[in-house]
């Protein structure tokens, strides 16, 4: 292993820039003659707009323009994935306006934009806009939204507030398994709605060049080419060659910056009208009201088991809250990223899943770190632990009994996916060792002496990432391919620039990708630059989400590097007067087998650009290659998370005293970065399990709309993590990599809740919902200790 190649914990190249305040985020960018936009948002969850009077605002000091939905007649903000109903009919896909058209559907919906010389002037003027609202009753809960008589978010465009009523599997076939079952275990649970809270709020700058007719959008995006496609082709009808989208340094995304948002279209469109650059930056309270939220499922599930605890069949019924509009990937999250994961690591032969996607008067919901897989894992791992308790089995033994064995790969599940590799016994065993699982009873007894309730919880999870094979997702309704592109440009003196369609917003691509290059070309990291985030500089890109950057973007780089090595070998063969078949390339040097001939990579690069002595008949000068890579399959990370908690029964407070994560992420390029990704994922998983609660009141106001009320995990909420990897290699990509960005957030929530319930078991508490706050735990203890007669 070289010091900077695959497997080395190289310090992140990008961190000097970030830690010394030299990052270049969207809000750091300023254009000459720039104006500022303030977006006036709906204070109501549901209302008709009877009229908007902008006269006073237009004449206010510093105001350049004011636009409403009446002015901005453009295309619908598109949804990227069509899902069909059970009967084959397409989903309801109501119009999604950039600026409200006659109606507002959630608190925070965009009503008007004020453009002024300064941000304060724009905000002052917005107070002068008079909107005549006729308030309507609102609905925020998905179950209530499909009850008869519920307010209709989209009126006739979505009867019963239904987006789709979708299924996977054959319900009758699964029912037949239930007839043979010795046991049926059922569970009802909610996967709580979360607010993503990237550190950098969203921002966008629109610019229009009258001379060339070109538009530029700087935006906080995880995928600038996708934004160019969605906004250009669907909303504003701008062709690619007249629209440049730049996503510079981006301070965290977690999914929330995948989507095309109204504000991007507004500043771009308006820049064309006012012929000046326009900057918009969200305030934190706007982020709460306009960044796509995550999760929000209500589910019921039944598991059929034989007398020995072997799973026979699983039925899952889920209501997924879509919010008020369909965000870009919202529709695939509770279907193809959720239902297809419900086999988990188990051999369950028959599975049926029904998902109803439902509109409500809330912020749109879309993918958030894990996207569908945390929801599936939480359901499955709570259910399996409950089954163990109900059958009187050991919670580890019931899992082992149902594991897909390590020699069964490739393994076809009943829910469409074919797993290529894995070893669930291995990750389980290692996690149990590291967490000293067997000594837990002693620790519990010791805690009891201190008046604490100690519990241990486990989750053996699987996820599908590295999205995705285009042909597969296309057949499932995706309106795009999910390949990636890369360009390797070798400069004359041997330094290298990589242009990747992946986008780094905290993941460390500038280091990990450079390690691939260093390993392949044998050159030092300082000679390598990773470029991303600009549609004018990068050929194409589908961006970063679904833990796809290395497994798809990295593979594209490897493919392009392979082409570079091929061509360089030919040049080297010419220089060494050898046949190309005899040329070997290792550690940056070309050699000829059986001779002492040798030429280094730098010399070859120089030769390519100063081709005085060059095989012109057969080769073009220059050394630069492109590649597109479309994966053969998803990748399937999995593993085991074990959580240990202590609960103070006097207050209901939970302290996590141990968190062990053993993850199979495939080959590890940079162990330090992988560990960091897992730490971050665990923090978010623990946040979901214990702390984060997105609350709406009945009128549709977000009551947890600031950090005073929305609890983000902080360092002292977290234990010292014991995080390590125990990998099998991905069988269908050259690097053997799987993905590590989301596993922490996917595997941990059920481990935490199972631990909490284990601690409370002796008091008779059977269920708790996320987040398991001190109050909820205290209430559960109270309820369980109440004499039955009093209930």
């Amino acid at each position: 292993m070289s010091a900077t190649g695959i497997g080395a914990s190289v310090k992140r190249k990008e961190d000097f820039r970030f830690l010394t305040g030299r990052g270049n985020y969207t809000d750091d960018i300023n254009q000459p003659n720039q104006t500022y936009a303030y977006i006036l948002r709906s204070p109501h969850a549901h209302a008709k707009i009877k009229g908007i009077d902008t006269a006073a605002a237009k004449s206010a000091s510093g105001v350049v323009a004011v636009f409403t939905g009446e002015d901005m007649q453009v295309g619908s903000i598109p949804c990227g994935w069509g899902v069909n109903n059970k009967d084959g009919s397409p989903m309801n896909e109501p119009f999604h306006p950039a600026l409200a058209q006659g109606k507002v559907r959630h608190v925070g919906d965009q009503v008007a934009v004020v453009i002024a010389e300064t941000y304060s002037q724009a905000k002052d003027a917005a107070e002068l806009i008079e909107v005549d609202y006729e308030e309507l009753p609102a609905v925020t809960n998905s179950e209530k939204a499909i009850a008869p008589g519920a307010p209709l978010v989209h009126d006739d465009a979505a009867p019963n507030n239904m987006c789709y009523d979708w299924e996977l599997g054959d319900e009758a076939e699964v029912d037949a398994e239930f007839k043979n079952a010795a046991h049926v275990v059922s569970i009802d649970l909610t996967n709580n709605r979360l607010v993503p809270n990237a550190m950098e709020p969203r921002a966008a700058i629109g610019d229009y060049n009258k001379g060339t007719g070109e538009y530029t959008l700087y935006t906080t995006s995880q995928n600038p080419h996708v934004i160019r496609l969605l906004m250009g082709a669907f909303v504003l009808q701008l062709p690619e060659h007249k629209l440049r989208v730049v996503a510079p340094d981006v301070g965290g995304g977690f999914g929330s910056k995948i989507y095309h948002y109204a504000e991007e279209a507004i500043v771009t469109w308006a820049a064309g009208k006012v012929r000046r650059p326009i900057k918009w930056t969200a305030e934190r309270s706007e982020s709460f009201l306009s960044d796509a939220h995550g999760r929000d499922h209500i589910s019921h599930a039944d598991l059929a088991l034989d007398k020995d605890g072997k799973f026979l069949g699983l039925k899952v019924y889920t209501k997924a809250n879509m919010g008020a509009y369909l965000s870009t990937f919202s529709t695939c999250v509770p279907t193809y990223l959720y239902a297809t994961l419900l086999a988990g690591v188990y051999t369950t032969p028959k599975i049926y899943v029904n998902v109803k996607a439902i509109f409500t008067n809330t912020v749109p919901v879309d993918a958030y770190r894990g996207a569908g897989r945390p929801e599936a894992t939480y359901l499955l791992e709570r259910l399996v632990t409950k089954a163990a308790k109900q059958l009187g089995m050991d919670q580890v033994a019931i899992r082992q009994k149902n594991f897909i064995p390590a020699d069964a790969f490739p393994y076809q599940t009943p829910v469409a996916l074919q797993y290529d590799s894995g070893n669930y016994e291995a990750t389980l065993k290692k996690a149990m060792e590291l967490s000293k699982w067997d000594e837990f009873p002693q620790r519990k007894a010791e805690a009891a002496k201190r008046g604490k309730l100690r519990g241990i919880g486990i989750s053996t999870y699987l996820e599908a990432c590295g999205i995705a094979p285009s042909a597969v997702v296309g057949s499932l309704g995706a309106r795009a391919g999910l390949f990636e592109s890369a360009n390797v440009r070798v400069h004359p003196t041997g330094s290298v620039s990589i242009y990747t369609g992946s986008h780094s917003h905290g993941q460390g691509h500038e280091t990990t990708f450079a390690q691939l290059v260093s390993e392949t070309l044998g050159i030092p990291l300082e000679n390598i630059n990773i470029e991303h985030g600009d549609t004018n500089r990068i050929a194409f890109g589908m961006g970063t989400y679904g833990s796809r950057s290395l497994a798809v973007g990295g593979e594209a780089i490897m493919k392009a590097l392979g082409k570079v090595v091929d061509k360089a070998s030919k040049i080297a063969a010419h220089l060494m007067e050898a046949s190309v078949e005899d040329v070997e390339f290792k550690d940056g040097k070309f050699t000829v087998a059986g001779t002492d001939k040798e030429v280094d990579f730098g010399t070859v690069a120089l030769t390519a650009y100063v081709p005085h002595n060059y095989p012109h008949e057969t080769l073009e000068p220059g050394l630069e290659e492109n590649a597109f890579y479309d994966p053969m399959n998803f990748t399937y990370p999995g593993g085991c998370h074990i959580c240990e908690v202590e609960i103070d029964p006097d207050t209901g407070t939970t302290q996590i005293v141990g968190m062990t994560a053993v993850d199979d992420v495939g080959r590890v390029i940079n162990p330090m970065i992988v560990e960091g990704q897992i730490h971050g994922g665990l923090a978010q998983g623990i946040g979901q399990a214990l702390l984060e609660s997105c609350e709406y009141d009945d009128s549709g106001q977000l009551t947890s709309g600031s950090y005073m009320d929305y609890c983000m995990p902080r360092a002292d909420n977290l234990p010292n993590f014991m995080a390590t990897t125990e990998s099998t290699l991905c069988a269908h990509n050259s690097l053997g990599v799987k993905g590590c960005g989301e596993v922490g957030a996917i595997g941990s929530p059920p481990a935490v809740i199972n631990a909490v319930l284990d601690a409370l078991h002796e008091l008779g508490v059977e269920d708790i919902s996320m987040p398991a706050t001190p109050q909820k735990i205290w209430q559960a203890i109270q309820a369980a200790s109440m004499p039955a007669a009093a209930e």
Binding site: S120, D124, D650, T651, L691, T703, D709, P774, Q775, W778
Partner: protein
């Protein structure tokens, strides 16, 4: 934030003068509450009078029986003060646990008391310790100072200059954090004084900080304190805690405070 005129006097006398001559002025201390409120456009003073130049408002002194803290003394300074740690260690600990390091380096004791946030920590200490709040116009006992949630006996242009704490025989503060904001969901300050036990509760009540006389009597009678005597319908209920949970926590925190005071 709306526009305003900014003043930075260098003495409390000049500050009082600036307050008197402005239309709708506000004092700016650490700004940890006032500035966020102004940024959210919930406050729009015509004039902001900063006390940061008033060196006469900063400082801590102790004569053994009384601890005096200048209004502009930051939470960080109180937490780190040897005088406070010696005279009333519970007060130093309380200050050291307010917010985060940035907040403690800006926020002031005067600002906290003047603001009387129903979930703030200092008001419970002032009330339980029987502090005297010294202003540009008079001296007020803590019992008469706090008049309701975000309400005090201060007049519009009255400035707190210092706070005098009689040194108790023992004291302790037990706080149950609101998990999100880390203000007090319930905080109980217990002081053993020569006049008997004093217990003040913050975070819990609709009326702001209050003295739990019932619990004081239990302690005086040598009983383990509990919250059975507190009327649930006087307590706050919000997305973080029901009134019943708050009532329960008052009992738990009172017990812990008494135990910690030793």
């Amino acid at each position: 934030m709306y526009e305003f005129s900014y003043h930075k006097p260098s003495s409390v006398a000049d500050a009082a003068k600036a307050m008197g001559s402005a239309d709708d002025p506000k004092i700016l201390a650490g700004g940890q509450t006032l500035l966020p409120t102004m940024k959210q456009r919930l406050a729009s003073p015509s004039d902001v009078v900063s006390l940061r130049g008033c060196r006469d408002l900063v400082g801590i002194s102790s004569d053994g029986s009384t601890l005096t803290i200048g209004a502009m003394t930051t939470h960080a300074a109180v937490a780190a003060s040897g005088d406070v740690q010696k005279a009333i260690p519970a007060l130093a600990a309380l200050a050291g646990n307010i917010g985060d390091a940035q907040v403690r380096n800006r926020g002031t004791i005067g600002g906290s008391l003047a603001n009387n946030d129903p979930a703030a920590d200092y008001p419970s200490a002032a009330l339980a310790l029987g502090a005297t709040i010294v202003t540009t116009k008079r001296e007020l006992s803590a019992d008469n100072f706090f008049t309701g949630m975000f309400e005090t006996a201060l007049e519009e242009d009255e400035i707190i200059t210092s706070i005098r704490f009689p040194v108790p025989q023992a004291a302790a503060y037990a706080k149950f954090d609101n998990p999100a904001s880390r203000y007090a969901l319930v905080g109980v300050f217990f002081a053993k004084t020569s006049d008997g036990p004093r217990v003040a509760v913050t975070g819990a009540s609709q009326g702001g900080v209050f003295r739990a006389k019932d619990i004081e009597e239990q302690i005086a009678a040598g009983k383990t304190p509990d919250s059975s005597g507190i009327a649930e319908n006087s307590l706050n209920a919000d997305i973080h805690a029901t009134a019943a949970y708050r009532k329960h926590l008052i009992g738990v925190m009172a017990k812990r405070a008494v135990a910690a005071a030793g």
